[in-house]
């Protein structure tokens, strides 16, 4: 009964979303405030309704109603209750519902804001949010119903149906198949919601952009309203990516965190356009330029968000044919096409209104450098996008399946990333409007010399790999320039205000959160870059089969195999095999590690959990590859030494701090510059 109820609620919500689209459009064109208000209230109602639907599904999951196909597929009796709840997004149908639920939450949040000055945006923000919501709900209602029940029809087939077919009997399996073991890790429990939060929150800035295009209010008001939204969206997306990497490192057992897998790239692509957008909106705010480009970026981000969900949900990655057979693939394809074409058509329609208000004064001005930054981000996007879709094109046209793996992406993207780092070093020193070689040179020579000194030190003490040296030089340069900027600002305050240095620093940051938050983010990115350089260039591995008390050696580490134990955990249905290994460095015992293999009986699947000793210098990462009873042939271990990788995780924590500084609400409300109000006046006069 609960399943039918949940499906009914989904249906009602879907109709409500459609209604709010219609009412909004009608209200806008007939200047009927009450219709728009009615649309807004229906939009608001979708959130409690979808919460009820979600609670129904969670209740089915927790109570183990295996007659419901989704419950049967993602849970089992032995799973702990919290996993039964998080299994909500552990399968296709549930995760689509999760998407819708988040969408309605964000749409409600945004419709609850004060709209007094931006009333004309409201109907179109509702339209975009509701259309997106209706699309995802339609996927659940027509193709992937999480509430469908299993029935055996008269001809003996068992399948899931929304409504009981004639002459059928319900099937209630004794136990479910259980959640994929890979998805039971804490990282995987938080990672998808984080990514989805990022995905869904980008719909809001897009909605405002479309509202600006439709209403013709093309000043930078939409950007100012959504500035914080975009930052939070970016934070969630970034953190989703980092958590995904951490999960891969901890669970997938291949010694790395990022493999340029299409699924990873699917989430990385909107991040690229989102990051470019974060930078280029500043040019519009400060200089009234790039308005058309910002529209392009946010439209692309939205399209890539939907495309990312499509890539991971439609089966298109395994084969173009799987895509054609999947129920939701073609719908996604059509939806992306229609929304993209409509958005671009709108943009072309308003093209003239979005002309720049100022001229580019210098190729070295900050806005010119930001443009270059955008070009680089777009280039990484082009490489990534092409790498993901090329195998599909190849299969479609020649029938030949090919793989586009890490060498392709790394070769193409490494110079682009290096160029981005170089820009990160010089852009903070350039001024808006006007910069010359002289002004830039004056500012940068000291940090450059210091960075060179650091690089020379690294050359003599750590590595002579020239790619690494270029990388470390750029890292040092960016960090030094950024610190220099903090120091310069704080000194200025110190002189005039008589504050002590640290008070000056904190006031400085507080006065211009976005700028200095951004700088903290830059530093955090460089810490991550250290980790990436370390593992990409210096990772070392060896594998061997050893008997008890024998050892494996790699890069100054000696691993001695001490013991192995194997046992069943009846409550979770898992068989554990756990080795004990002593790690020596320079003859000294540094730690004991326990690599394990977990065998899940239900899923008949192995998980290889590494034993890791992590320091800032390197990680010792041991996998139990295969094993025999300890007395016989011994056990096979794979040992990785991953230098510097910890900097990646430390950097990501600092990243969090940076985004929070940048997104923290300012004390004074959004400052609207003279230019913005002027152009707003022009637009309203034109209306």
């Amino acid at each position: 009964m609960l399943a039918e109820f949940g499906y009914g609620v989904l249906l009602v919500t879907f109709l409500l979303a459609l209604y709010s689209v219609g009412a909004s459009v009608y209200g806008y064109y007939n200047k009927s405030a009450s219709m728009v208000e009615s649309a807004r209230r229906s939009m608001l109602l979708t959130f409690p309704l979808l919460s009820i639907a979600a609670l129904s599904l969670i209740s089915l999951l927790v109570n183990g109603d295996f007659n419901v196909q989704f419950v049967y597929e993602v849970t089992s009796r032995s799973m702990p209750a919290y996993l039964k709840v998080t299994a909500w997004w552990g399968g296709q149908a549930g995760s689509l519902l999760f998407w819708s639920w988040l969408m309605s939450a964000f749409a409600s949040l945004v419709t609850l804001r004060k709209w007094d000055r931006d009333q004309e945006f409201l109907p179109w923000v509702i339209v975009v949010a509701s259309v997106t919501l209706a699309f995802f709900l339609a996927l659940n209602i027509f193709f992937e119903n999480p509430f469908a029940r299993l029935y055996q029809t008269f001809d003996g087939n068992i399948a899931a149906y929304t409504l009981a077919p004639a002459n059928s009997t319900p099937i209630v399996p004794a136990d479910g198949r259980g959640l994929n073991p890979l998805l039971r890790h804490p990282g995987m429990i938080i990672h998808p919601p984080m990514l989805y939060l990022g995905f869904v929150s980008y719909v809001i800035p897009f909605a405002f952009a479309i509202a600006a295009l439709v209403t013709g209010r093309t000043d930078d008001r939409w950007i100012r309203i959504t500035r914080r939204w975009s930052l939070w969206a970016w934070l969630f997306l970034s953190f989703g990516l980092v958590l995904g990497g951490r999960w891969a490192y901890d669970v997938l057992g291949w010694g790395g965190y990022w493999g340029w897998d299409p699924v990873e790239i699917a989430a990385f692509m909107p991040w690229l356009t989102g990051t470019a957008f974060l930078h280029s909106v500043m040019i519009q705010e400060k200089r009234g330029m790039l308005k058309q480009w910002n529209m392009v970026l946010i439209i692309l981000t939205y399209a890539l968000v939907i495309f990312g969900t499509f890539l991971t949900r439609s089966g298109v990655l395994s084969s173009v044919h799987a895509f054609a057979q999947s129920a939701i693939g073609p719908s996604f394809f059509v939806f992306i096409g229609v929304t993209f074409v409509t958005s671009i058509a709108l943009l072309i329609h308003r093209w003239e209104d979005l002309k720049a208000e100022a001229e580019m004064k210098s190729m070295l001005s900050r806005e010119a450098l930001f443009l270059l930054n955008n070009l680089l981000f777009m280039s990484v996007l082009v490489v990534s996008f092409w790498g993901v879709i090329f195998p599909l094109i190849s299969e479609l046209f020649t029938g030949q399946k090919v793989t586009v793996g890490p060498p392709f992406y790394e070769r193409a993207n490494s110079p682009l990333f290096a160029a981005l780092m170089f820009l990160m070093a010089i852009a903070p020193l350039s001024a808006w409007g006007h910069s010359t070689i002289q002004t830039l040179g004056r500012a940068i020579w000291k940090p450059t010399i210091a960075a060179l000194a650091i690089t020379v030190a690294i050359f003599f003490t750590y590595t002579r790999n020239w790619i690494a040296l270029i990388g470390f030089f750029l890292v040092a340069l960016v960090i030094l320039v950024t610190l220099y900027e903090f120091w310069r600002g704080a000194r200025a305050r110190q002189k005039t205000q008589g504050e002590n240095f640290f008070t000056a620093l904190s006031h400085l940051t507080g006065k211009n959160r976005r700028r200095y938050g951004g700088y903290v983010i830059h530093i955090s990115m460089m810490l991550m870059a250290i980790g990436i350089l370390g593992i990409e260039l210096f990772q070392n591995e060896t594998q061997g089969t050893i008997q008890v008390n024998q050892s494996l050696e790699l890069q100054g580490y000696k691993l001695v195999y001490k013991d192995i134990a194997q046992w069943d955990d009846a409550s979770t249905g898992v068989n554990y095999t756990r080795a004990t290994i002593e790690v020596y460095k320079g003859g000294q015992l540094v730690t004991e590690l326990h690599p394990r293999t977990d065998y899940y009986y239900e899923a008949q699947q192995n998980m290889t959990i590494p034993g890791v000793r992590s320091t800032m210098a390197d990680d010792v990462y041991v996998l139990l590859v295969d094993w025999e009873p300890a007395s016989a042939v011994g056990a096979t271990f794979k040992l990785y030494v991953n230098p510097l990788v910890n900097w990646l995780w430390v950097g990501s924590l600092l990243f969090l701090v940076g985004v929070i500084i940048a997104a923290w609400p300012e004390k004074d409300p959004e400052r609207v510059t003279v230019r913005a109000t002027r152009s707003a006046r022009q637009t309203s006069a034109a209306d």
């Binding site: 100022a358 082009v382 006007h434």
Partner: protein
């Protein structure tokens, strides 16, 4: 003639010795280590799983393929021969990059062409933006600011607060 005979005898002896020694030396060579196998497996993709390099793939099938690599290595096959064997049997998808032939060239050529086009477009757009574009008047001193303007403004602001 005599020297010729002696030479022939010598050569024959060498060949015989070679024949005798060859199998011995092959048996005496180090058997391929796990690291040798992984070095090749790392560059190949599992023919059946989605996007999983062969060296880290945990399935039984992949373990057998790794054993196959080991066998081929011990038979003296080179890395490229082994890769070729996998391509012939399982298709180009086992390679970590599309082989550079035919339509696959598109994989390598399209991104640089688009990026170059983007760069050209950007340079032209920058040039266009350098000319005055709109009738909107220049925006006062804020725009004309010299490089150190930010600090100057900061100082000014702080003074005002005093």
């Amino acid at each position: 003639m005599k020297t010729n005979l002696r030479f022939t005898f010598f050569v024959l002896l060498l060949v015989l010795a070679g024949l005798l020694v060859a199998p011995v030396s092959a048996q005496g060579a180090q058997p391929p280590t796990d690291d040798d196998v992984n070095a090749i497996a790392k560059e190949l993709y599992c023919p059946v799983c989605e996007n999983t390099p062969l060296d880290v793939c945990a399935t039984q099938a992949c373990a057998q393929w790794r054993d196959l690599i080991r066998l081929k290595l011990s038979q003296g096959e080179t890395e490229s021969q082994i890769k070729q064997y996998f391509v012939e049997n399982y298709g180009a998808r086992v390679l970590n990059e599309p082989p550079r032939e035919g339509l696959n060239w598109l994989a390598y050529l399209v991104p640089p062409v688009i990026i170059l086009a983007g760069a050209v477009f950007l340079v032209r757009a920058l040039r266009m933006m350098k000319k005055p574009v709109a009738a909107v008047p220049a925006e006062g001193p804020r725009v004309e600011a010299p490089a150190d303007d930010y600090i100057a403004r900061l100082e000014e602001e702080v003074k005002k607060q005093k």
